[in-house]
Amino acid sequence: MVFNSLEFFIFLFIVFILYWFLFKKSVKKQNILLLIASYVFYGWWDWRFLSLIILSTTVDYFVGIMIDSNNKSSKRKLWLWCSVAFNVGLLGFFKYYNFFVDSWIDMFSLFGYNMGSTWTLKVILPVGISFYTFQTMSYSFDIYYKKLKPTKDYLSFAAFVSFFPQLVAGPIERATNLLSQIITKRTFSYNQSVSGLKLILWGLFKKVVIADALAPIVNDIFANYSDYSASTLIMGVTLFSFQIYGDFSGYSDIAIGTAKLFGIELMSNFKFPYFSRNIAEFWRRWHISLSTWFRYYIYIPLGGSHHSKWISLKNITIVFLVSGFWHGANWTYIFWGALHALAFIPVFLIGKNKIYKDSIVGENRLFPSIVEVFKIIKVFSLVTFSWIFFRSESIMDAFNFIYKIITDFSFETYLHPKGYRMIDYYVLLIVFVLYEYIIRKDERTPFKFKSKFTRFVIYTLIIFTMLLFYDSSIDRSFIYFQF
């Protein structure tokens, strides 16, 4: 069941009614409802994979108790490693097994040994496995670092692991935030629910209008890159920048908005990353829940930046490579991570990785300064360049794509594969960027206008534009489901 489907909205309405009307007096009953709803939501894809969530939930539930009940550091560590081994093992088998086998075979073939690929398995990647395994692991980590006490309430813990708004594509929540809300009584708040509906609307706009409308163009250009001129290829990867942003941040907005309807606040996952003035700021604004996960559970335990420069650089590189590899079992993602590490390290070395920590572009001004505009363009270009690796089917395709841009530079008019006017998309993106700039101060209130009439006009225009760019023939699933 995907957010942008009719089934989801019927499902959401039913769960909402039951949650606030039938079960509002009991947190336990509300949590049981959330758990059942989450399992129905997930089982809609493939009920067999529910067993993996239940298994992961059970393992970390007991690991949490065991870590807490042991005072000896070595035993606590051993239990923590049990959680890590189990969850990473799950990921390794379902997501990376074939990749490792194939890479192993490729490596041997470099030395002239030809091994048949008989060890690869036909494994289906369970939706959202990378997200919920990281979420359950964070629970064990937090107990290990004594930031959290384990819960004895298995049902609430299971509801935390499988909370349907963020189950399949995040935000990856830490138990300190989400579990604490799940075990406490929630009361209906008009303002919170209205704010949730607004975020759902804005998320749907980003998904249906920005991501889905651009998808056929991007798919066409990346699938047939050898037939297109450099200008078209540049346009293709630029549009992909918007597509993936619309897709993933749209999903996050719908997830946060849906959670609000149940009285739960999820963490922000995107804060207008394309308005970043350096790459460090970009990573503070893009997929925030994953970045913070890596910071808390990999970068800091490795020593963070409190040791020598060399150790810090090593830690940064590890985090970016692991982050790339987390996205998928393909060298393209690892390369993408490596590129970001290369871009981040100089900023870190000159000590400018924190300069934009607490500010936004055009702070206290209507327009950004010329310098800021240039910085934004520079970061956007760099990120867009890295998307070539992220989006390409293979590392060779990515290099050929870049090679074509460099060696065969020419301009041509691109025609939409389905015959639509391209000018519609250019205008749409310009308006979208301008609107995002207007609302850049707060990612959680996309319609912060005092006048009710202005808000009404914007809601109507957003829905109207969603209709205008609706295409029933395309695959409407979210890109990050595959991770």
């Binding site: 009719l6 089934e7 639509y420």
Partner: protein
């Protein structure tokens, strides 16, 4: 909670009303001309209607139609006489031409290129050979005055019936309920672009709950199935010709030999039925001949069809 539901409901109603106005103002939705069944039991459009047809989203294809006195989309009236030279094109949506402006149709293109001829386009979406021959038969007096008649024929679609009967499903669309529904332009628009498809699918699923679960597996056609189908269709063809008559001197089929089985083509040849082939000319075109989003001929495709008919006509 009450406030939440009340305000949400109010917003939904106001937004829907505003969207209805926006769809009307921007002409995003097509006009649906009214159908009727005339005194000869022929289904056609109610005469003298004007409007526009829209295909795809964001006015991807926007065209005007003009239903004439005879109930067909054409810039001209159909008034044949023995003093003039007339050509009739009888067919389905390809001849009806709602995908083009009515003043830029195949018939108009032929008239522009062939001096002194009047072309009457009897096109109606969904017509098969039974509809077409019944029409010619019912309006015998009119068609007898027309010098030549070109009849569109798609073997796979047009020979399913062996006699003409009014297609009730299409006429149900003229019930007061459907007319009311069609007057809501937002509904027509969202239906056309596929927004409502999931709703219909869900309704279908819900309505099938409790009913015996029939597993409908699409069986691959065997050679025998295909042979049987060909035989049935050829028998239907014979039956239609026998029932409604066919003037082999004046009537010619317009068909695509690439999608017509050889056995039928041989039958036509052996029995002196004339046909114009569209395949070679359309297939050899370097430019696309159909619209991007559906299979109907685009302007270039219609140019080619007009030329094929003109060339054939000149040889007569």
């Amino acid at each position: 909670m009450k406030k939440f539901f009340f305000k949400s409901g109010l917003y939904v109603i106001l937004i829907l009303l505003t969207l209805e106005i926006l769809v009307r103002v921007t002409h995003l939705s097509k006009d649906n001309p009214t159908r009727f069944v005339d005194e000869f039991n022929v289904e056609k459009w109610e005469p003298n209607q004007k409007g526009h047809s829209v295909t795809g989203n964001r006015l991807q294809n926007f065209s005007e139609f003009n239903i004439n006195n005879s109930g067909y989309n054409s810039y001209r009236e159909f008034v044949p006489s023995i003093d003039k030279v007339e050509l009739a094109l009888v067919g389905d949506s390809f001849i009806q031409g709602f995908h083009q402006n009515y003043y830029n149709s195949i018939g108009k293109k032929i008239e522009d290129r062939l001096e002194g001829i009047e072309v009457y386009e009897y096109g109606y979406a969904g017509y098969d050979l039974a509809d077409q021959l019944h029409l010619i038969h019912a309006y015998k007096e009119t068609f007898d005055k027309i010098d030549h008649v070109v009849i569109g024929l798609k073997f796979d679609d047009d020979l399913i019936r062996k006699e003409y009967k009014l297609v009730q499903d299409r006429m149900h669309l003229e019930s007061p309920f459907y007319k009311k529904i069609r007057s809501i332009k937002l509904l027509v628009y969202t239906q056309n672009i596929g927004v409502l498809d999931p709703l219909w699918k869900l309704a279908g699923k819900l309505s099938s709950i409790g009913k015996k679960n029939k597993v409908l597996l699409k069986r691959t056609e065997t050679k025998n199935d295909i042979k049987e189908k060909y035989i049935t269709y050829i028998e239907n063809f014979k039956s239609l010709i026998k029932k409604y008559g066919f003037d082999k001197n004046r009537f010619t089929f317009l068909l695509d030999t690439n999608v017509t089985p050889q056995i039928f083509l041989n039958y036509l040849k052996d029995n002196n039925f004339k046909y114009i082939d569209t395949y070679v000319a359309l297939n050899s075109s370097k430019k696309p001949t159909t619209l991007i989003y559906d299979m109907h001929w685009n302007n270039h495709g219609r140019d080619i069809i007009a030329d094929i008919i003109i060339n054939y006509y000149k040889l007569l």
